[in-house]
């Protein structure tokens, strides 16, 4: 039971990170119907930005308060990653709107390869690790031989995720931008006829998706303390799995899917085998797409002839 509780905590932490990335996939798919293959690498780029920002803040500017440093890192990383998201959409996806169907997907694969190798060339191929911080935590139960431990990091990750998702939900549901975004998702042409700047809305969607991926990137770096240029692909595929599992196009679905994927991965590693945990994630992706392509909260796709 104690092991179960501990894994539950770990799974929810990991799941919140996947959920944050999954929102980027699901929003982009909802609005322009493409799988933004490069999103996982945008997440990795944000992790690197966070790493460098953190080193600058602590080593050079001498900010000793961890809370302040983290807040600044979060803001810097979100802003710069959002710029990356905007630039990628502008350069690699916007010229392809209305082009043939495979073009955006292949372009996205190109961006993904470019980003991971750009970081490799710019920062080197080695794993980069951060000095440990925010150590310690709360012992929930003191069983015999096994202590269920809730670390401060995990509290922070879940807390930040919940806070940002609340803000994000408000943005999508209650603001003019959110209304425009949802309108474009339903019918882009009609939205354009009603005076919505569709290009701007799509740009902002990418910016938002990248900013949320940046949050995930900062939290990932904080949680694992290590990042490498190849860290975008697998979390990206898992987050995409989460988006599909929750029903692609559905925002609560993405978060729900992220939590489920996080839990499955952690429990699989704990109870079965850690080597095959990625196989589990990929298999779930295949199974979900084959047997329930509309996901848990998604709408079934109707084909018009």
């Amino acid at each position: 039971m104690d092991v179960f509780l501990q894994q539950l905590i770990n799974g929810l932490t990991l799941g919140s990170i996947y959920g944050l990335i999954a929102i980027g996939y699901t929003m982009v798919f909802g609005i322009i119907g493409m799988v933004n293959f490069a999103h996982g690498d945008v997440f990795m780029v944000s992790s690197f930005i966070a790493l460098i920002a953190f080193l600058i803040l602590t080593a050079w500017l001498g900010i000793s308060s961890v809370a302040l440093a983290l807040l600044l890192v979060l803001v810097i990383s979100m802003a710069l990653t959002a710029l990356w998201g905007w630039a990628i959409e502008r350069v690699a996806y916007r010229p392809l709107r209305g082009s043939f169907r495979l073009a955006p997907l292949i372009s996205a694969i190109g961006v993904s390869i470019f980003l991971s190798n750009f970081v490799q060339v710019a920062q080197g191929a080695r794993n980069k690790s951060l000095p440990p911080m925010l150590e310690g935590g709360i012992a929930l139960t003191q069983g015999e031989g096994y202590t269920v431990f809730l670390s401060y990091k995990q509290c922070l990750i879940v807390g930040v995720t919940v806070a940002l998702l609340t803000g994000f939900w408000y943005l999508v549901q209650r603001t003019p931008f959110g209304r425009a975004q949802r309108a474009c998702e339903q019918d882009r042409k009609m939205a354009a006829l009603l005076g919505i700047d569709v290009d701007r809305t799509i740009s902002l969607t990418f910016v938002l998706g990248a900013a949320l991926a940046a949050v995930a990137g900062v939290l990932y770096l904080l949680y694992y303390g290590v990042v490498s240029f190849s860290d975008g692909f697998v979390p990206g595929v898992k987050a995409f799995t989460a988006a599909v599992l929750g029903g692609i196009g559905s925002l609560p679905g993405a978060v729900l899917g992220g939590l489920i994927i996080g839990l499955i991965e952690v429990f699989w590693s704990a109870y079965f085998s850690i080597e095959y945990k990625d196989v589990a994630a990929f298999s779930i992706l295949a199974i979900v797409l084959i047997f329930m392509p509309s996901g848990i909260l998604g709408r079934a796709e109707v084909e018009k002839v």
Partner: protein
Amino acid sequence: MADARSNGLPEILRDAGLYALVALGLCVPLISYRTEAGPTGLELVPRWPVVAAFCAGIFVLRVLQRLVLARRDARKRLTPAPDQATEAVGAEPDAGQRFSGLGLKVFLAVALTLPVLATLASGGLGPARYWIDLGILILTYVMLGWGLNIVVGLAGLLDLGYVAFYAVGAYCYALLSTTFGLSFWICLPLAGLFAAAWGMVLGFPVLRLRGDYLAIVTLAFGEIIRLVLINWTDVTGGAAGISSIPRATFFGIPFTADEDGFAPRFGLEFDSMHRVVFLYYLILALALLTNLATLRLRRMPVGRAWEALREDEIACRSLGIDTTTTKLTAFALGAAFAGVAGSFFSVRQGFISPESFTFLESAIILAIVVLGGMGSQVGVAIAAVAMVGGPELLRNLGFLGAVFGEGFDPNEYRLLLFGLAMVAMMVWRPRGLVSVRVPSVSLGARRAISGAHVSEGHG
């Protein structure tokens, strides 16, 4: 953005300045500070000159681009745009088509005589090894491209896990020869059959999927196979792979120096290059076989069904074509060629590991097919030369070290440029290099049509 802008110089400079500013924002943390492992954890090494050079480069490029665009706009205003005219469906054979007709002959001629040409050019069989090896590499990708072309170009099914079948073929030969001692010539067709079976097994569950979903599931399958190869250590040797795989023989005669070897039997002096040249002609034959099979299949009912499926699946079904079998044959045949290529790969290398079968390989093969103009056989060959041979050119750019400072290795930028090329290709020429098609079936004279009239499929 393209319509209502002035082309005055201040405007252009302002615009380019904006671009440079964005570039600055993009590379501020990632390029300006390099993280290096120091004695007390990570240290930052500032590199602001690189950032400045980068931003200046973007600025200059943007100014140039705007100037070129401005001139083109001015010219457009004088003459009616060609895209405003109605495009004739049955266009006369244009430069592109004539080029591709000629290209095929040139390609074949060069491919057939490459070992001779290389020997003459570099003065000896030994020094020619680099070129022949490069030829083998390119031809392997040509074969893979032609194989994937059946799935993507003809049947319109987007497969991002193609490398899995390549891996199946490679491991098939490696395992059969090291454990059962089967010869290469028995394993070659077996690998094809085995990979085809896997193509059916993996193709069956994804029959209902289309578009991006199909792409993602095939990618997942590809990754699953790779992860199983890494983790199933008892059979596959895990990440260490399988080494000392038996070499190819000349139809049973080994390429060794002793009496039963290839050279003494044919009265030649022993040279280790005989094997390499033989491998070169072997992969050339295999690739041409793939091409021939594809060309013949296109005329057969199954090939026509593939193309019909690509154009319109619903119309296909309503005309009584069994889409299940059609899709499965495409998957199986594409996989079979990949399996044969894989078994060639393992006999050539003598060593295989899961490292060689990453998603990147699938992406490269797909990029070759798309760059070639999906469905065009010549295009795929040209694209393979460009995609595989192009990066090799980078090795010869060492002199750039004088410009960029010591320790500059152009080869590091291979994949970075590759990714950029994929994006640029989609933006400028989404229809590929060879953008005309000759219809497989036609009434009367067979005339080339623009690639824009060919559907890219829904699956």
